[in-house]
Symmetry: C4
Subunit: 268 residues, 4 copies
Amino acid sequence: MKKASEIKQASFEILYKSEHNGKARHVFDIFLVSLIILNVVAVICEPSIVESSLRKAFRIFEIISVVVFSIEYLLRIWVADLVYPEKNKMIARFIYFVTPMALIDIAAVLPFYIPFIIAVDLRVLRMLRIFRLMRIFKANRYTTALMVVIKVIKNKSEQLLSSLVIVFVLMTIASVTMFNIENAAQPDVFTSVFDAMWWSVATLTTVGYGDIFPITALGKALAAVIAILGIGIVAIPTGIIASGFNELLHNKLHTIKCPHCNRDIEVE
Amino acid sequence: MKKASEIKQASFEILYKSEHNGKARHVFDIFLVSLIILNVVAVICEPSIVESSLRKAFRIFEIISVVVFSIEYLLRIWVADLVYPEKNKMIARFIYFVTPMALIDIAAVLPFYIPFIIAVDLRVLRMLRIFRLMRIFKANRYTTALMVVIKVIKNKSEQLLSSLVIVFVLMTIASVTMFNIENAAQPDVFTSVFDAMWWSVATLTTVGYGDIFPITALGKALAAVIAILGIGIVAIPTGIIASGFNELLHNKLHTIKCPHCNRDIEVE
Amino acid sequence: MKKASEIKQASFEILYKSEHNGKARHVFDIFLVSLIILNVVAVICEPSIVESSLRKAFRIFEIISVVVFSIEYLLRIWVADLVYPEKNKMIARFIYFVTPMALIDIAAVLPFYIPFIIAVDLRVLRMLRIFRLMRIFKANRYTTALMVVIKVIKNKSEQLLSSLVIVFVLMTIASVTMFNIENAAQPDVFTSVFDAMWWSVATLTTVGYGDIFPITALGKALAAVIAILGIGIVAIPTGIIASGFNELLHNKLHTIKCPHCNRDIEVE
Amino acid sequence: MKKASEIKQASFEILYKSEHNGKARHVFDIFLVSLIILNVVAVICEPSIVESSLRKAFRIFEIISVVVFSIEYLLRIWVADLVYPEKNKMIARFIYFVTPMALIDIAAVLPFYIPFIIAVDLRVLRMLRIFRLMRIFKANRYTTALMVVIKVIKNKSEQLLSSLVIVFVLMTIASVTMFNIENAAQPDVFTSVFDAMWWSVATLTTVGYGDIFPITALGKALAAVIAILGIGIVAIPTGIIASGFNELLHNKLHTIKCPHCNRDIEVE
């Protein structure tokens, strides 16, 4: 069984070890990212294609993709015990199975297989393939610049999510108040609090589609307040991310040589 | 009377002491936040409900909520003298009565009681319950991340409010000028300076609903200037908040060497 | 003539010396800011007023205001030689006459007087009074917070104006290109490059009224690029202002006492 | 041949050496920037002009401009070997030929010449002249403020481009999902994924024209999520640029004490 364990080790290294810079990994990376991007292009173009020969070509490409991604998925499940070596084999596999990336992978291939088992049409769900695009953030051939950006967002994710609480409280109060103000004047537009919520999102985020807005004087006054508060809502995550980049800037301890005594000193 | 004062002390600790981490407080907190959120959901869904049995259920839930919140409010009034121990009993209660949170609380329950006393329909005012959602910012079970965000906003609230003065001056000048330019060309759209104000809010905040905009060349030129200034208007609070987060970052202690005696000192 | 020069000196101190904290100046400040704000309210409400008695009241208020502001203006011209003591009397007055604040002041009162001299209707120009609102930034009774915000904008005004050059270059290129793309498809909407400029302002500033947008595939692709660049356009002034606030933060040299040797040290 | 090489050296210095502050360069700079701006004005106004005599004047101005820019272009090609002195003459010229600025220059004059050689109407391409406006960023008579802004953008260009990857991934996933949700409800509006992409750009950048938006509950919920994420999308480049300005701020030298020998050292 030496051979099998060697293949397993090699698979593990190609699939997971970002330091493994051998040719096999390089080829594998380019191949997989290309396949993902081609799948995305296919999902985007598919609904616009009417010619039957082209549809067939797309279908064949999908089958090939699903086969490749299924093999990759099974390999990852297989080597999961090497990823979490301290765990029991089956527990390691289950832990891998519920990671977000693995769930995206299974969601991307399952809609293809299910119709073979039970008679159900999952055509729409096949677009779940698109989520596999998130894999790009995991690929290793990136410039460090994107890594820095992602690191800042991760570092500040807790504060960013917290600021969402403020958005939700503001949005809820604005929506209920606006509904009570505008419902009488525009019963067809502000039919429920949910319509008012749709308005408040469009206003707080400064998108402003223009499909729903107040027409009464009181409603306009409230909308003005909310729109101005919307600027603050934009300002909070921006301030958080800006401070995240600054933190990174300052945390760089760098070493210089003292020009007088020629010894190393660390300065911030 | 020992017992009454003990109950009072216990109520005070559960209601106010965030350090009090006993089980009673924990249960009370979860119960109250849940009740507030359920009330919010009720206020949001209520106008969309037509079925009479469901309406009745909502009414019963409201009665229960109002009873709970009334008891809580009376308790808070009762223990107010423990919150401000240096004040006279009645003055302490009055001080508590006019705090923003207490005013929100009374506004949330009063519209339920008034119709029993005088024959008036305050159905619309019952949506004031929604403002109780602000209590969430006072709850103690939060991650520190939200506290940091709120602290930054509070620290910078003076500067943020000041920047509103700039917004108002700009908005007023833009509105009056735009009204005088566009009134002749679109008398039905720009009927008064207030219409022009509605336009200027939508433009300066970059919401841009599209229900009102200039059509003359001069009006469009002014709108372009205002829209570009609008970017600056967004930039000011963002800069303020970003610097607030940086300030927090820098206030962490760091060690320098005293140039006189060469020993370490910690400075902010 | 001692008395005249004393009045002049007193006027100068009330009008210009912000350190002069006597009661006269205090009363004068409140009176003037109130009068300015009332004038703004009048300009805003005037077009909506139809009742003739109210119109008459507004007219009387305008006459009083113009008289007050004219006297203030003449006083300022009179004492101008004390403002620029190193200059010749008439030159000092001319220098004052062409300051932006003095030009705003004269623009605010002139449209009232001209119709008495030559038979011309300057009713529209009377709204120039609104610009006097800018005087608020010069009043002395402010919180320091607004002063800080204004100082940051002033410090960074050169960089902010420079970033406008980038906006204009981008806007011009976008407009000409978009006009050439969309003119054939929407000849009534994109009739000239100026229409395309109106579109590009609305897009780059992310206002997006929705009165003009591309409908061809190529036009939409360009609009997408411009909208994404628009984010950068918003980011530049924000970054400038944020760094302005940080600069202020860091420039605060503050003195601490060394806890070991008890001497003063200045640290940033 | 001494004379020719002297002319060449002089041309090189006027065209390239920003330190060369002689009168010739000064005049040349003002002349060229003026000509570029006049060309831009011409391109903007041209489609709105109907009078034949004015059209003729514009045509003559265009001929003069093209001649001037052609001479400048040829001169730059001629002196290219002085710009890259370490290269072979022809290679130096080719290197210059493919620089972005040279490609813009050739794109600006070629559409004028081609119709003389082959019978083709390139009237539309003549608007390519507008791109020459970018030359303004290369001119030397600027305030340093614009240089600072451009330097910050250049320093951070890698991070800014990286953040575009995040925008594209988000946009693609949002578009495909939205198309699958809304296509059934609005088959005429969301006809293809490309329509959904147009929607997602308008939403993520918070432009919100209002020509396309979801009408189903699920679609609106997704749009709300995307609009809120759009705030983050705006926040990322802003944070990057803000930190770029701060970096510049901090790179100013400051003096520390070497902990080993206690003498002063200047560090960045």
